[in-house]
């Protein structure tokens, strides 16, 4: 930690007063370009300077990126969020495989990946010439060490990826051989493209990473960027790794700035103080930001979800008719148009994103409030006292719908859903609570065996759950060991059978048949209501750096965006 503040406070105050009182011309000249580092080519808004002629290849490029909320020291045991925390982690580390622009894993640190017939054994050779940031060569032994290390220190996030790994060996010809207990068709996506490879010489001395306090000296990776400075809750400074095995990165420095909230980041990109926002911008900002020169927007479908959960283990949501009626009563297109201003994909009742090859086109969303009313009437949920709310077991169908106040779009969705459900005689009051309170009610202790403390809740999963289609089983299987993300307490024998089979099906065609079947079953049995998949939209200053790569479903925040086009997967 540099102690810049130790300068006498008095000087600061004097200087501050001087600045405040100084005439505006003077302060304009010095502060109009908070792009400070003379190397960046960023224009203050409104200034009409000629297009930057200074962007010659020799000029070092610094990209300043905004994130919301700190990520600690961003090593494999300390980063906080799945997005963008993991993405920043992987700027420094490499995985054996790397997602390409279509979201398909391609060989990366491994220059070849082969699997046996029944997908229980994966064999990889490691590229030549990859080195660690400290200059040591990266070898197959580091890879084996990494696998063993994550398996042994099971509290880390990557240990789960390696469940089912029976052995990790280095063969006589220097290849890595991983044996699995059961076929795992998604092993490349889930493990090989996810796990950061660690340098053995750095980590072998760290016995219990869960109890370790890290500083950034541990952040020795093989990736295109090296973390050189970290100010907690202020900024991260990454220098390009000139010896990167795929080639020198396209930019020289990446500065990641931590903001307290979204509006701070928006203000900063508009004032030219940052060059890209590593979080999705809210739909209403897309047009506005795009209209401002030199800002541009990179936009595309993503795999995060917005959904409604209900406690399907208790009345009245244990009744299929009620769940189906809710699915039919919700106008998802209206939600996409009103809340997302069109920048989202309408949710498929079968979970799988329509842009994915695994999507079953027979499963389509239906909006039909009349049919929903008929279903509820037939199932005996009448409005006997004429107050517009139906009754069940003698009680009114009046529920509280929990949302987290930190997600304003989700709050609006909840409001709209409550209006829509009122039309079919289900009363819903939206209760907006602070995030940890909401999480604890929907997913107490992050363990579904603790049950649920809600009736209806607005919810959403991050992109990785959708990205790997096989993970569908985790969401719907009634066995808590398999369906550990089954937050709604849903149980159905057919769904259990098909989803269990899917997990170990090695044959791609048979696997797809199971996925198709499962989508139909989910759409029929409604374990949850999937409302929409919001688009990803990222704003960047095209004068500073414009070659951002939008990885399908995952967005622009990855090392791929910052490599020269020829070096990308």
């Amino acid at each position: 930690m540099t102690k810049r503040w130790t300068l006498p406070i008095l000087l600061v105050v004097i200087a501050m007063i001087a600045t405040a009182c100084g005439d505006s011309d003077e302060s304009t000249t010095t502060t109009a370009a908070p792009s400070g580092t003379a190397t960046t080519v960023s224009l203050a808004p409104g200034e009409t300077q000629p297009p930057a002629t200074t962007a010659a290849p020799a000029e070092p490029i610094t990209v300043r990126a905004a994130i919301t909320g700190g990520e600690d020291t961003i090593n494999p045991y300390t980063y906080i969020s799945g997005f963008p925390g993991w993405n920043l982690l992987m700027m420094q580390y490499d995985s054996l495989m790397q997602l390409d622009a279509d979201g398909i894993p391609q060989p990366w640190l491994a220059d070849s990946v082969t699997a046996n017939e029944d997908l229980t054994q994966y064999t990889m050779t490691i590229v030549d010439g990859a080195t660690w940031h400290d200059g040591m060569p990266l070898t197959v032994n580091d890879v084996k060490f990494t696998f063993d290390y994550f398996i042994e220190n099971a509290t880390g996030r990557f240990s789960r990826d390696l469940r089912g790994v029976e052995s990790v060996e280095v063969s006589a010809d220097g290849a890595l051989v991983v044996d699995l207990a059961a076929p795992n068709p998604a092993f490349d996506l889930v493990a090989l493209a996810d796990i950061p490879i660690l340098p053995q010489h750095v980590w072998e001395g760290i016995a219990t990473p869960g109890e370790q306090t890290f500083d950034i000296s541990t952040n020795v990776g093989s990736g295109p960027f090296m973390l050189t400075d970290f100010q907690e809750d202020q900024s991260y400074r990454f220098k390009a790794n000139p010896d990167y095995f795929r080639g020198t990165p396209a930019i020289d420095e990446l500065v990641v700035i931590v903001f307290a909230d979204d509006s701070g980041a928006l203000a900063a990109i508009r004032s030219g103080e940052v060059d890209v926002i590593f979080e999705r911008v809210s739909p209403e900002q897309i047009e506005l930001l795009d209209a401002q020169d030199p800002l541009d927007i990179s936009q595309g479908p993503e795999f995060t979800t917005q959904m409604i959960n209900f406690d399907a283990s208790k009345a009245p949501f244990d009744d299929l008719a009620v769940r189906q009626a809710i699915e039919l009563a919700v106008d998802k297109q209206d939600i996409v148009d009103t809340v997302f201003l069109g920048a989202a994909t309408v949710g498929s009742p079968g979970w799988v994103h329509p842009d994915k090859p695994a999507y079953n086109p027979e499963v389509v969303p239906v909006f039909d409030p009349a049919a929903a009313n008929a279903l509820l009437d037939d199932a005996g949920y009448a409005d006997s006292d004429g107050d517009g709310i139906r009754e069940f077991d003698g009680q009114p169908m009046q529920f509280e719908m929990l949302t987290n106040s930190s997600d304003s779009l989700r709050l609006r969705i909840a409001e709209l859903v409550s209006e829509m459900l009122a039309d079919v005689g289900i009363g819903v009051t939206v209760a907006s609570v602070e995030t940890a309170t909401w999480e604890e009610a929907v997913w107490p202790g992050f363990d579904i065996s603790n049950g649920r403390n809600y009736d209806i809740a607005a919810w959403g999963w991050s992109a990785p759950v959708q990205a790997n289609t096989i993970r569908i089983a985790e969401l719907v299987n009634g066995d808590p060991g398999v369906g550990f993300l089954n937050l709604t307490g849903f149980a159905n024998d057919d769904v259990d059978r098909v989803s269990a089979a899917l997990l170990t099906e090695a044959d791609p065609a048979a696997s797809q048949a199971l996925i198709d079947e499962l989508q139909v079953l989910i759409a029929e049995n409604v374990p949850f209501v999937l409302l929409a998949y919001p688009d990803g939209a990222y704003v960047y200053n095209s004068d500073v750096y414009a070659d951002w790569e939008f990885i399908a479903g995952q967005g622009i925040v990855s090392k791929v965006s910052l490599l020269a086009p020829g070096d990308r997967p």
């Binding site: 203000a267 304003s408 602070e434």
Partner: protein, 285 residues
Amino acid sequence: MTAVESPKKRGRGKSAKLADRLGWTGGVMVAALVFMAVAAPWIAPYDPTERVGRPFSAPSAEHLLGTNDVGQDLLSELIYGARVSLTVGIVAAVVALILGTTVGILAGYYPKRLGSFLMRTVDVVLILPFLPLLIVLAAYLGRSLINTIIVIGVLIWAGPARVIRSQVLSLRSREYVLASRTMGAPDRWAIVRHVLPRTALLATGTFVRAVSTAILLEAALSFLGLGDPIQKSWGSILFWAQARGAFLTPAWKWWVLPPGLMIMIASLGFALIAFAMEERINPRL
């Protein structure tokens, strides 16, 4: 910060009249807002919960202040917002007043053990961490407008309790109270007959100030995401303006400025009344 009191006569002259005038200005402002709140259904052009226009519309003949992020009429939200904001402000202040006056009178009248205990409680409440307290209260009281009101009331009662206690302490030593005590009248009688009426004016002044504090606090809670953004209050309009980036777009003129000004007017109105009342209680000021 109770300065030493030394009663000295000084005529209520021109300045008192001016203070009264300020008080009346405040009164008119508050009355206008209360009228707006009561008459909202008749004044407001639309139902603020209905989506009546395109989201993010600029002001037009149909929507004088444009629409918000889901197409609700901002003018109607602003008018209806008076209901929630004023209710929160006034009811929370009532809660604070009841708590503060009771504690203040008891502590002032029985300064020994009970008073000492109560004042230590006040000291503790004044330094308790605000945010976790808020979340804990919300968790155990449930989530509703009532909850927001109680939370704010509970958070702001301690200050007034101190002020009222010192007033009662000085009253306690006055002749009439001492007289009634020596004559054997029960404490309850002395409190009701002598202390309460003389504290009432001060309490009302404190109360009016508490209203403006509560209105500001409600807005701040909304901003931190700890309020209830679904309720149509001025604070929640600002929450949405902030959440949907209106501070940085031209929309700030019709989305951000008006609710901020309303909060300011309401808070100012009550503060002016409070000022005029304090002027009456202690004419020297």
